[in-house]
Amino acid sequence: MQADTRENIILELENVGCLKRLRIEFKPGLNIIKAPNASGKTTIIRGFSCMFSDKIPPSHVLALDELNGRIRVHYDGRIYEKTLRRTPSGQVMAQGDMLPFTDPRAFDACVALAETGVVHRITGGNVVFRKYLEELSYGNIYSAVISASQELINKYGRKLAGPSFRNFEMLPLLLTELTDLHIRRDQIKQKIEDLKSSHESRIQEIHDQIEKKSSTLSREETHLSQLTKNLSLEKEREEQLQELLNLTDESSEVAISINKGIASSREKQERLKMEIESQTRLVESLKSDLEALRDLLKKEEETGPRGLRDLERRLENINKMIILKEEEIQRAERFPPDDAEYPGRLVVDVRSEILRKIEWLEKVTEYFQEKYMRRMTSARRRFNSNVTRAFRELGLKGFENVFLDQNFALHVMREGSIRQPIETLSASEKLTISLILMLAAKETFLPDFPLFIVDELTLSYDPERFWRVMNYIKRRVPYVIVTSLTSSLTGKPEVIHKP
């Protein structure tokens, strides 16, 4: 402790709260600001706090009916000044210096204002205390990084669950479907080829049949012609024999022989006629067959292979499906060129990039979780140690110890290691414990901060407890500032100094 070597702190306030102008001096040791109600005790604390913490908004400091105000502090041979200005829109702006020991945590650890709910900390449960120690130990920085990392992990996770990446997950299935379509297309093409080939064979077969039939017809027609010719010759022969017979004696042997020849010729003619008739039927039949074959050929040529149209329609449909599937695959593989975030990039690359980001953020989360746990465990241990020392040194009647357990729940232990529920403590006991916990927090996290300020929290103390607590604080902090009610009617705050 260096109180004996320190200089006085001079605080000057102008248009702050209800105070038009005030100059007040704090000496090393205990400084008791005495004043009646509504005379500016809390205003002094707020104004002074503005010089080392930004927790109090300037609008809570500047006098309501003033446009400008000023706070000035003489400390360690230097003057620190802050001006307050109300803008035309009614906003209050603060500008100027901060004291060299300024710390954003100081207001929570070193200024015990009744209005900031000091007591609430002990009655608020483990969540409140965990948050309090988090802020004082800067564990909140680690939890902020953890929370931001997890938010980003969730954000990237949501991205990966989005439509672009869902389609990408479908890529193997889409490729299988495309392969199936190609196989089906090849099968149909083969069927078409087979059908065409079979049709051509059929046409050729009909051609062959026509050719063969034509040849047969030609041959049979020649044969018929020959038969007809033979018949004609036979008729001529009969006529010649008949003429010869007319010239011959009917009873002669020659005539008999000629008659025999005529009879033979007639038989032959009959036979030829029958043959011609039969041959004619055959030729007609062949012609009819040939006609039928030519009709068949014409029909086959006109209609083409049966089922070809249906197959060609199916082939056309499959080709369309292949194009659609290829487009779908392209969409699944690559972001569109007009995509706001990843224009034209391969989905696989972006996916891999996002997975890498998640991987790193998970490592960061794990790292900071470990740091957070270590920091909070250490903070709790050091805090408990300072609380235990305070209770031991203060020797408060009836109390054995107060400590935070692993879950940051506060345990108040009465003599005989009996745990007392917080809510059953008396008002002054709650205040005493709150103050001691706050001082322990200050000693743990801001050991070099030179101030400890208590605003109207000691009203319910009897003089013995007041001095016991104040002397304990005074031994640990260079400047202790306490506000206290007085029955004086002057209305002006006065500082009583106890070195």
């Binding site: 931001a148 990392s149 996002i354 890498r356 490592k363 979780q369």
Partner: protein
Amino acid sequence: MSNTGNRGSLRHVPYIKELERVAVNLLRKNPDSKERLKEILEEYASRYAREYNIRA
């Protein structure tokens, strides 16, 4: 929560010390800079994805 067995590997998280310094400075000055913190984390995550994708 990681156990002590992981500590060795966690120390080798790329850019972690640099990030820690930047984050602590940022949040000590302004504890409400959560959005800026997320931007910083995204920048480092992108850097990691870029550099470690190439290595992979």
